[in-house]
C-alpha cells in the first residue's frame, strides 16, 4: 500500500469512523460532560475580543469549505459564477475569514498562557491537543491560500481535492487526484483529519448544540414531575 493510499484513503476512513462512533458514544454516555466548558467566569478580559473573532471566523471558514468541497464546480458555474469569479471570491472571503479565525485562535492560545494561573484547573491536555491541531490546520490552510493561491499561480483544488473529498463518501476514494495536489494541501488535509478524529472527545462537541431552537421556543419552559429528567439520549444533538 502506498503512502498516498494510507494517508488519503485509510486515514480519512479511520478518522471519520472515530468521529461518528465517538460522537454516538459520547452523546449516549456523557450528557453531563457535553458542554462548551466556558472559562469566561475565571478570565473574561482575554476572551472579550478573541472568542467572537475566532468563532465567527471559524463559522465563515466552515461555510467556505462546505462550498468549496461539497458543491461541484459545474453547479456554481450553472448558477452563473465564472471560474475566475469563484476564485476571486473564495480568495477574498477565505482570507478574511481565515485571518479572523487565526487571529482569534492565537489570541485564545496566548490567553491560556498569559492567565495560566487562573485557568490551570480548567485547561486539560485535550484542550492543548485541540489548540495544537487547530493552530496547525489553520496555519497550513492559510499558507495554502496565501502561498499557492495568492502569491503562487493559483491552484484549482475544486477539480482535484474536492472531487477526491466527495469520492470518500461514495466509498471509492480517488487517491490519485489527491496525491497530485501540492504538498501544503496534502499536509492540510492529513492534519485536518487528525482534528476530526479528536473532535468527539473534546469540548468541541458543543458545536452540535448550537441553540437555534431558542429563537422559536416559548420563553418559559415548564416540565411535569419526573418527565424529561432522564438523559436526553433520544434527541438529536442539534434539536
Amino acid at each position: 500500500m502506498s503512502t498516498s493510499v494510507l494517508v488519503f484513503a485509510v486515514w480519512p476512513y479511520i478518522a471519520l469512523t472515530v468521529f461518528v462512533v465517538g460522537h454516538v458514544w459520547r452523546w449516549r454516555r456523557d450528557q453531563a460532560g457535553w458542554t462548551s466548558r466556558t472559562s469566561q467566569l475565571l478570565e473574561p478580559r482575554g476572551l472579550r475580543l478573541a472568542s467572537p473573532l475566532f468563532h465567527f471566523g471559524a463559522l465563515a471558514v466552515v461555510g467556505g469549505h462546505a462550498l468549496g468541497l461539497v458543491v461541484p464546480a459545474r453547479v456554481t458555474a450553472a448558477l452563473g459564477l465564472t471560474e475566475h469569479g469563484y476564485h476571486v471570491m473564495a480568495l477574498v472571503f477565505g482570507l478574511v475569514a481565515g485571518v479572523a479565525m487565526a487571529t482569534g485562535l492565537v489570541m485564545l492560545v496566548i490567553r491560556r498562557f498569559r492567565y495560566s494561573e487562573r485557568l490551570r484547573l480548567v485547561t486539560t491536555r485535550l484542550d492543548w491537543a485541540v489548540y495544537g491541531l487547530l493552530v496547525m490546520t489553520a496555519g497550513i490552510g492559510l499558507w495554502a491560500t496565501f502561498g499557492e493561491n495568492l502569491v503562487g499561480g493559483g491552484y484549482d483544488y475544486r477539480e482535484t481535492i474536492s472531487v477526491w473529498f466527495r469520492s470518500l463518501f461514495v466509498l471509492s476514494p480517488d487517491v490519485d487526484l489527491m496525491a497530485a495536489a501540492p504538498f501544503v494541501f496534502r499536509l492540510h488535509v492529513a492534519v485536518a483529519f487528525g482534528f476530526v478524529a479528536l473532535w468527539p472527545f473534546t469540548r468541541l462537541v458543543h458545536v452540535w448544540s448550537v441553540p437555534l431552537g431558542y429563537l422559536v421556543r416559548p420563553y418559559v419552559v415548564y416540565r411535569q414531575a419526573g418527565s424529561g429528567t432522564r438523559p436526553a439520549v433520544t434527541r438529536t444533538p442539534w434539536a
Binding site: D30, Q40, L41, P52, V221, R223, A232
Partner: protein, 518 residues
C-alpha cells in the same frame, strides 16, 4: 384559568440576626464541591451595601431581568433573542469571578508540619484556583455588620436611586440583614435566557431547576437572572442554582436554610396562581403597580369557585388544604405585610420579605420618642426619609407609602398586643388607622411572634402516585453519576487535568474526589 401551585418563602427581616447559619448549612448541603467554591445559593448581605456579586442590583451594568420595550411588550433587558445568540461567544453581561470573590483555602499542612518553636505557626490563605498564596481582599460577606462598608456602602445602587447621602457615623447609620436565595420566580428570566432550554420550572410546584444533562454551558442564565442567583460551575462548565431543596420539599420537609434558621424567620408554603394572568401581570406599565399585579395573580384557595376549579384541574385535596393554611398566602396576600424584593425586575419573585421595623424603632428612640408608642413610631416612619426611601427602593420600586403602610401595621401589632396584655383594652382608633381588625392583628402576632414550626412550614408532600416518577429521577441521577464520563481523566467535564502550576498544597474536597473517582 390555568391553576398552578407554587412553593414560596417569606422572611421576616426583623428577626434576622445575620448569623449566616442558613448560608453555611446550604453550602454544606449543596455547594461543598469543586467548581462551586465561590457559590452561595443562599447568602446574607448587610444592607446598605453592594452585596454579592458586586453591585448585583445595578441592572444598567448587568442587564438582568425584564423590561418593557417601546411598544410596552416585555423583553429581556439583555436584548432580543437573535441578538442574545450573537453574544454567546463572549457574554458582555457576565460577572467575572472577581465580582464574586477568589475562593481560598488554608495551608493547614503548615500547622501540622511546623517544627517546635517559640511562636505558633500560622496557616496562609491559598487560592483554590491558582494554588498560590493569596491575600484575602474581598468576600461574600465583606460588608458584614457594616464592617467593610465605609468604603463600599456608598456605592449601593439603592442609595443612588433613593438619592440619599449615606451617613455612616454610628448615631446616624442604619443597617439590616438581607438573606438572599433564588426566588423561583413566576416569570423566571433565567429560564427565558437559557438558549438550550435546559432550565425549567416544574409544573407541580414551580421550583426552577437546571437540567445538568442538557445545559451546554452558554451561561446566559447567569446574566439573565437579575438577582444573580444562577452560577457557573467552573469545573463542569455548567450552570447551577438553588434547588429550593426539592428532595426535601417533596417529602414535606422545609428547605435546609429554613429548617436551620436560627431566627426562625423563614416561612414556607404554597400558593395557587393563575398561569394565564402571569404575562399581563409582569407587563403592567408602572413598576409600582407590579406588586398589586402579582397579588392579583394569586388565587384565594378559600374561594369555593377557585377550589372547585382547582380540583377539576387536578390539584390534590391536601394541596388545596395546604394552600388554605399557607403562611405565604397569609403574609403576602391576606395581611399584605410581605413584599417581593425588587419587583421592578418583573420576574414576579416568590421569595418575599417582611421589611424590618428595627431601623425605624432605633430612629424613634434617637428622635426622643417611645418605640412602644404607636404614635411616636408612626411619626418616625413618616419623618425618616431614610430608611423608608431605602426600603422602598428594595421592596416596592420606590413606593414609600406602601412600605410605610407595612411598617405601621407591624407597629400596630406591637401596640395592640401591648394594649391587650398590659391594659386589657383595645385602641380602636389604632385599628382604624391601619385598616385591620383586632382579630387580624392577633393572628398576625401569632404568625410573626409565636411562629411554631407547624405554622411556619406548611409544605404538602408530593403525591404518592408520582412517587415512581420522582424515584426514577433519583435513579437516573445516580445512574448518570455512575456511568457518565464526568470523572477525572475522562473526556467529560471532570477531565480537567492540571497541566501547569503547582497543585494545591492541601487535601480538600478536590483531593478526596479525585481519589474516589479513580
Amino acid at each position: 384559568m390555568r391553576i398552578k401551585a407554587q412553593v414560596g418563602m417569606v422572611m421576616n427581616l426583623d428577626k434576622c440576626i445575620g448569623c449566616h447559619t442558613c448560608s453555611v448549612t446550604c453550602k454544606q448541603t449543596w455547594t461543598n464541591r469543586d467548581g462551586v467554591e465561590y457559590v452561595w445559593f443562599n447568602n446574607v448581605e448587610t444592607k446598605p451595601g453592594i452585596g454579592y456579586p458586586l453591585r448585583w442590583e445595578d441592572q444598567a451594568r448587568w442587564k438582568g431581568g425584564w423590561e418593557l420595550d417601546r411598544s410596552g411588550r416585555l423583553r429581556l433587558r439583555s436584548g432580543r433573542r437573535a441578538g442574545r445568540l450573537t453574544k454567546i461567544f463572549a457574554n458582555p453581561d457576565l460577572p467575572s469571578l472577581d465580582d464574586y470573590y477568589e475562593p481560598v483555602t488554608y495551608d493547614y499542612d503548615a500547622l501540622l508540619s511546623a517544627p517546635l518553636g517559640r511562636n505558633g505557626p500560622s496557616a496562609q490563605p491559598v487560592s483554590v484556583l491558582t494554588g498560590q498564596p493569596t491575600p484575602i481582599t474581598w468576600g461574600p460577606n465583606w460588608e458584614d455588620d457594616l464592617s467593610g462598608s465605609p468604603v463600599t456602602a456608598p456605592q449601593d445602587p439603592n442609595l443612588e436611586a433613593a438619592q440619599h447621602q449615606l451617613r455612616l457615623e454610628l448615631e446616624h447609620t442604619f443597617m439590616f440583614y438581607l438573606p438572599r436565595l433564588c426566588s423561583h420566580c413566576l416569570n423566571p428570566a433565567c429560564v427565558s435566557s437559557c438558549p438550550s432550554g435546559a432550565m425549567y420550572k416544574r409544573e407541580q410546584d414551580g421550583i426552577v431547576l437546571v437540567d445538568q444533562d442538557r445545559c451546554r454551558g452558554w451561561r446566559m442564565c447567569v446574566s439573565g437572572c437579575p438577582y444573580k442567583k444562577v452560577y457557573v460551575n467552573h469545573r463542569t462548565g455548567k450552570a447551577e442554582k438553588c434547588t429550593f431543596c426539592f428532595p426535601r420539599i417533596e417529602v414535606g420537609q422545609p428547605t435546609v436554610c429554613s429548617q436551620t434558621c436560627v431566627g426562625r424567620l423563614r416561612y414556607l408554603g404554597i400558593v395557587l396562581y393563575d398561569a394565564d394572568r402571569v404575562d399581563a401581570a409582569c407587563a403592567v406599565e408602572d413598576p409600582q403597580d407590579l406588586l398589586a399585579a402579582q397579588r392579583e395573580v394569586f388565587l384565594d384557595p378559600s374561594d369555593p369557585a377557585v377550589a372547585a376549579e382547582a380540583e377539576a384541574q387536578g390539584v390534590p385535596r391536601d394541596w388545596l388544604d395546604a394552600a388554605r393554611r399557607s403562611p405565604i398566602w397569609s403574609l403576602a396576600v391576606k395581611h399584605q405585610v410581605a413584599l417581593p424584593l425588587h419587583p421592578e425586575y418583573r420576574t414576579l419573585p416568590m421569595v418575599w420579605y417582611i421589611p424590618p421595623l428595627s431601623p425605624v424603632l432605633d430612629a424613634t428612640g434617637s428622635l426622643g420618642g417611645d418605640d412602644a408608642d404607636a404614635d411616636d413610631v408612626f411619626a418616625a416612619v413618616h419623618q425618616l426619609r431614610i430608611p423608608l426611601d431605602y426600603l422602598a427602593q428594595l421592596f416596592t420600586a420606590g413606593d414609600r407609602a406602601r412600605v410605610a403602610g407595612v411598617l405601621m401595621k407591624l407597629t400596630a401589632v406591637r401596640s395592640h398586643m401591648r394594649g391587650l396584655t398590659a391594659g386589657g383594652k383595645v385602641d380602636t382608633d389604632l385599628l382604624d388607622r391601619v385598616g385591620a381588625s383586632g382579630a387580624e392583628l392577633e393572628e398576625l402576632y401569632r404568625l410573626l411572634g409565636i411562629a411554631k414550626m407547624a405554622d411556619r412550614y406548611v409544605v404538602p408532600k408530593a403525591h404518592e402516585e408520582d412517587a415512581a416518577r420522582l424515584d426514577s429521577w433519583a435513579s437516573t441521577w445516580a445512574g448518570a453519576e455512575g456511568c457518565a464520563l464526568d470523572v477525572p481523566g475522562g473526556p467529560g467535564t471532570g477531565g480537567a487535568t492540571v497541566v501547569s502550576g503547582p497543585s494545591i498544597p492541601v487535601r480538600g474536597a478536590a483531593g478526596a474526589r479525585r481519589n474516589g473517582g479513580e
